[in-house]
Amino acid sequence: MTSIIEIKNLKTRFFTADGVVKAVNDVSYTMESGEILGVVGESGCGKSVHAMSIMQLIPDPPGKITNGEIIFEGRDLLKLSDAEMRKIRGRDIAMIFQDPMTSLNPVFTVGYQIVEAIRLHNDVTKKEARKRAGELLALVGIPGAEERLDDYPHQFSGGMRQRAMIAMGLSCEPKLLIADEPTTALDVTIQAQIVDLVKKLQDELGMAIMWITHDLGVVAEMADRINVMYAGSIIETGEIHNVYKRTKHPYTTGLLGSLPRLDDEPGTELTSVPGLPPDLLALPEGCAFAARCGYRDEKCVAERPILEKIAGYDHQVACWHWEKIEGDGK
């Protein structure tokens, strides 16, 4: 497999009146073409901001990408002009957002909005674009797709809006689709429909997907690899089985332990992670997780661990004590 995107030492900062928010701290990883990467973490861990940085959708000011390279097909996206970036956005890298109600324009029909995306990047007539939009809506499973093109977003249900967003994201057959919490606002039965749909589409179209979520369940079901983020950094990453079954970071162990599972013994107590995530305005010198960690010692407080490869496995972890941790993902 060839890598589709390579991110090196990405740092994103927000310069606010209260100080500098260190939202993304030295994030580096590679995504292979055709793989599904799950990006997991709690609110404020930088998972969305890092995706917005890839798309260069960070509002500036106050936000700024202060360091790093994003290599996509041999080019550093951060060195491109706005016009060049516009061509990549939507055509090569598409993004779907969490809230389909706010990310669709309420005063235009769904069809108009998909046609607009198609015509922006392809030299086609309105008629051809409309035909393609109809096909896309049918592809994402909207019944009576042709007629529904003339509906406004409010005439769609939440699940249908998210399907329409996916149709729009797929309209130019992107090589990379970034999905930012696409099912968080949906009910479980609708979520199951969308997950099933995306897996099918990925099989058919073969694009790479970055699936950002806080739901470890959804990721387990669909991803090939996973990045676990905490306080703006990747703290554990690797092939999905390695991370879930041989968990080596105490935060990941804690996250997995806090989830009740439908298939575990009733009455098992949840192993919650004590305390709160750190303030991104004042990140500690050492390991960002140290304050909540049971393995903490002086070294953790003094020095920040970097991702270290576990020999023989597609698995990296940023913890000084990973060798002591016998995670089996519960």
């Binding site: 997950v195 387990a220 089985h241 009740p260 098992t268 919650s272």
Partner: protein
């Protein structure tokens, strides 16, 4: 559990919200948010109430406390008929039933300190002097795991999980017998959810509380509940003890709902056996005739489109509303 008397008995509860239209704002229809719902909650147990958005689960909780006037039906709380009570009697009995809300940002007054928030119920309902109140507040904050020195702080100084703890302290102030927890954890992060759920479980053991735990997160509800009720479009589809609902669900909706929950284990085969439902929940203004679930049911027969299934006890303590409950394997 049969021999015990229920703490709360809800019978045939209905709450219909009128839809008005025309220049005279005449009633032209009704949203049947809660339509003929019956259940019991026993002392010290947790009844989980699950369902998707708009199924009426929150309305059940609120109507049960008479925060909404029910359209019809009966609510017996500890032998007292709540429907028949006048305002002052109702206020008295509400001491024993409290509520925790979903949004810990909206449910705490930003201009009141933590101390005064927790003190408010004591002011209204008790004759404690200020020393006793002060001690009680300290005790309550300690119970919910907050530093008692925080009494003079304001809600904005706390995180979501800590605010939810303040809400719990307030609910505990009058030593209630029942707490209605309306999605108490759905706005919190995973690691914080577990903290709050562990706290709720600890309090239940120590204080013998009963919970009506309303949520859409099935795995969390299964974790905390003794019995579970599954709602769909204003009706209870199935009610049974936790293991029966999970291991032997009979209603096709319960089956689909259970199978839709993703399991955080890449080796789990659950996704392969998933029952995918088509379509969306129908508009509650205009529910289908016959069985509510017939538009999405994978096994619906002709009968389901004409006749509404009766909500009945098919096995001991296992209630469901499906025509074919007795014949499903």
């Amino acid at each position: 559990m049969d021999t015990k008397k229920p703490l709360v008995s809800v019978r045939n509860l209905k709450k219909h919200f009128p839809i008005t239209g025309g220049i005279l704002q005449r009633q032209i229809g009704a949203v049947k948010a809660v339509d003929d719902v019956s259940f019991d909650i026993f002392k010290g147990e947790t009844l989980g109430l699950v369902g998707e958005t708009g199924c009426g689960k929150t309305t059940v909780g609120r109507t049960m406390m008479r925060l909404y006037e029910p359209t019809s039906g009966g609510i017996i709380f500890d032998g007292v008929d709540l429907i028949a009570l006048g305002e002052s009697d109702l206020r008295k009995i509400r001491q024993r039933m409290q509520m925790i809300f979903q949004d810990p940002y909206a449910s705490l007054n930003p201009r009141m300190t933590v101390g005064s928030i927790v003190k408010a119920p004591l002011d209204v309902h008790t004759k404690m002097n200020s020393k006793e109140k002060h001690d009680r507040i300290q005790e309550l904050l300690d119970i919910v795991g907050l530093n008692p020195d925080f009494v003079n702080r304001y809600p904005h100084e706390f995180s979501g999980g800590q605010r939810q703890r303040i809400g719990i302290a307030r609910a505990l102030a009058l030593e209630p017998a029942l707490i209605v927890c309306d999605e108490p954890i759905s706005s919190l992060d995973v690691s914080i959810q577990a903290q709050v759920v562990n706290l709720l479980e600890k309090l239940q053991k120590e204080l013998g509380l009963a919970y009506l735990f309303i949520a859409h997160d099935l795995s969390m509800v299964r974790h905390i509940s003794d019995r579970m009720a599954v709602m769909y479009l204003g009706k209870i589809m199935e009610l049974a003890d936790r293991d029966s609902i999970y291991l032997h669900p009979v209603h096709p909706y319960t089956r689909a709902l259970m199978s839709a929950v993703p399991i955080p284990d890449p080796d789990s085969t659950a996704a392969h056996d998933r029952i995918l439902l088509d379509g969306d929940i129908p508009n509650p203004k205009n529910p289908p005739t016959g069985c509510n679930f017939n538009t999405r049911c994978p096994v619906a027969q002709d009968r389901c489109f004409v006749e509404e299934p009766e909500y009945r006890e098919i096995k001991e303590n296992h209630w469901t509303a499906c025509h074919f409950a007795e014949v499903t394997p």
